[in-house]
């Protein structure tokens, strides 16, 4: 069936959009709803990926495994372990100020990466894990891809619907109240640390899910297969471009950013060989520039959160008293 192969590229693209869509929704729960600056997205992605890989592969010399569980078990295990690891991190670190939390999560992601690199008994170090099963993997290529797209799209849809329902529920309103005015929320008796932890764990579990979906697509995982900072950054710009606090927005952001990212690869592939390699790094420059453009011209994102028009507008009441020093920026986040 030749005609199907024309769809190969778009289908491949779409699968990644679904995977990144999960990541973006996960980050949206953490940043968009709860105001938590998680710069360690790639870490939870990696936890999910490796967990599912370890759970679903047969026995291998020198590392733990041999569980040979079905793929759904791997996916569930991925989410569980991501949540489990997020929990203590959240309990300890979520009280920190946003930028301190960011630096700490960068450290966490780095630590996870080092573990993946060094702990041979767990991850097989640099050699990684291969032979990871793939649902419908035995079908011819085009059909297998379509099938996998169906799976990831369905999972994304479920995630989206579940999170949307939470977002419009009292839980969602409470999260936003905590994010926008923590002191007032506390005064009203809300258990702020607990709520934040919820959001953090939930978001991390969703990121773990994305990792599992990735690993069953790629069928292998090595520590350096993905550049952690690139993955983290792509997800962040998806959320910011799309509109943090809005699930449809971040999904739109995922589509746009991933398409730009992939298109740029096509463009750089056309260049003569000696430029092509270096130009590939230029793609990241482009993405970084994209973020600056968004922050300059549309900081609230394409689909802003329904109730607000500008990003976190904390402490407006100070503006009246601070007439002499708006530029000194005493406004705290």
């Amino acid at each position: 069936m030749e005609w199907i192969s024309i769809l190969n590229y778009p289908v491949y693209l779409a699968i990644f959009v679904c995977i990144y869509g999960c990541l973006a929704i996960g980050l949206n729960i953490q940043w968009g709803y709860a105001g938590l600056f998680n710069a360690g997205v790639a870490g939870f992605f990696a936890i999910g990926a490796y967990t599912s890989a370890i759970l679903t592969t047969p026995h291998a010399e020198g590392r733990i495994g041999g569980f040979d569980l079905p793929v759904p078990a791997g996916i569930v295990g991925a989410m569980l372990l991501a949540a489990l690891i997020a929990w203590p991190i959240g309990r300890i670190c979520l009280r920190f100020r946003s930028d301190y939390l960011a630096i700490v999560t960068i450290g966490v992601a780095e630590g996870i990466r080092l573990v993946a690199r060094s702990e041979e008994w767990l991850t097989n170090s640099a050699r990684g894990i291969s032979g990871i099963p793939r649902p419908f993997g035995d079908l011819p290529y085009a059909q297998a891809q379509l099938a996998y797209l169906g799976i990831t799209a369905a999972i994304l849809l479920v995630v989206y619907l579940l999170v949307e329902r939470q977002a419009v529920s009292p839980w969602g309103r409470m999260m936003r109240a905590i994010r926008d005015n923590e002191d007032a929320a506390r005064a009203m008796g809300k258990d702020v640390p607990h709520r934040r932890l919820e959001a953090f764990v939930l978001g991390s579990a969703t990121m773990g899910l994305a990792g599992a979906l990735y690993v069953h697509l790629a069928r292998t995982i090595t520590p350096d297969a993905i550049d952690p900072m690139l993955v983290t950054f792509l997800v962040w710009i998806m959320v910011i471009l799309g509109g943090s606090g809005n699930n449809r927005g971040v999904l739109l952001g995922a589509v746009i950013v991933w398409v730009i990212w992939s298109m740029s690869e096509i463009v750089t592939d056309q260049l003569p060989a000696e430029f092509a390699l270096k130009a590939k790094y230029g793609r990241m420059f482009l993405i970084g520039l994209l973020l600056q453009v968004v922050l300059r011209f549309r900081p609230q994102g394409l689909l802003p959160e329904a109730l607000r028009k500008t990003p976190r507008d904390g402490n407006r009441r100070r503006a009246a008293e601070d007439r002499t020093a708006p530029a000194a920026g005493k406004i705290e986040d």
């Binding site: 630096i103 700490v104 960068i106 780095e110 690139l230 950054f233 270096k278 793609r283 520039l289 990003p311």
Partner: protein, 290 residues
């Protein structure tokens, strides 16, 4: 282990690395003090400065040390441009937005270096330097120069901040921004000065990292965590804190291989950071609560 081994294999490398962190941490802490946000592009700005020095060295055939002042000045001015292009219009937003922007600038700087110089490791001079031997202490010439220049830069900065009118204006701005503005201090000028100083120190930090280890495009990003750990350990906004913090993080990192596997060396900075934030968030010298 005897004293000499301790000095040669742990203390000295720790101090040299600590000086590199201190130079970066001073910039981070200054930006916290004046502009009140965390600048995540600091590491990659150091990378940029280091590679500018490399460019000058290769293009003009100079010794790398002659290229250093060029890189320092260039990076300082470049930092002002970065601020004008990417941060200035975000000043009325919550500070975390600027931090996010700096995250993006970090990526841009890193990928720029990768496009121009590639991802392979390189260095300023090729070949092995032999250490000198002074009373049993083995130290290499570039280590000595690192420490001397770092001290000189700190002294110059201290003189500027305590003797110069604009240096005092910077301290005033850090101390009480409203009052500084009422006193007629030009916010824009102080910010520009801050970027020149921070950018220049970044270049020095990156340069010495390159000359003591090696040059690669992720070198700056790799020291972002220790640099921030040093600044926060010392107390955000306190320059003396950044220096002491840098030295402590550098030495602790070297010593950490005695208790944890070598691959995890960089996590000692993480551990310090976590400890400070949990036990005494204002740091050693009681930094600002922003």
């Amino acid at each position: 282990m005897d004293l000499l081994s301790f000095i040669n294999f742990f203390l000295l490398p720790g101090i040299v690395q600590g000086a590199i962190y201190a130079l970066g941490a001073i910039g981070v802490t200054l930006i916290y003090a004046i502009m009140r946000y965390g600048h995540f592009a600091h590491g990659d700005l150091a990378t940029f400065g280091a590679f500018i020095a490399l460019a000058v060295t290769t293009a003009l055939g100079l010794s790398p040390y002659a290229a250093l002042p060029v890189a320092v000045v260039f990076t300082g001015i470049f930092a002002i441009c970065i601020d004008r292009l990417f941060y200035a219009h975000l000043r009325t937003f919550p500070k975390i937005i600027t931090t996010i922007a700096s995250f993006g600038v970090a990526l841009m700087l890193r990928s720029f270096v990768q496009v121009v110089w590639g991802v392979n490791t390189t260095s300023y001079v090729h070949g092995i330097t032999r250490p000198e031997n002074w009373l049993g202490i083995r130290i290499k010439s570039h280590e000595i120069i690192t420490l001397v220049v770092a001290v000189a830069l700190v002294v110059i900065l201290h003189q500027f901040l305590t003797r110069n009118k604009w240096g005092k204006a910077m301290r005033a701005m850090s101390d009480n921004p409203d009052l500084a503005l009422l006193s007629g201090v030009d916010n824009g000028k102080v910010i520009a000065l801050t970027w020149i100083i921070a950018g220049g120190l970044c270049a020095a930090s990156g340069f010495f990292l390159g000359i003591n280890t090696e040059l690669k495009s992720v070198m700056g990003w790799n020291i972002l965590l220790p640099t921030f750990a040093a600044a926060i350990l010392g107390g955000v906004g306190r320059i003396e804190g950044a220096i002491v913090g840098g030295l402590i993080v550098g030495i602790a990192e070297e010593l950490s291989v005695l208790i944890i596997p070598g691959e995890y060396k960089v996590m000692s900075a993480f551990a310090i950071l976590l400890l400070v934030l949990l036990v005494r968030p204002t740091g050693l010298f009681r930094g600002k609560v922003l």
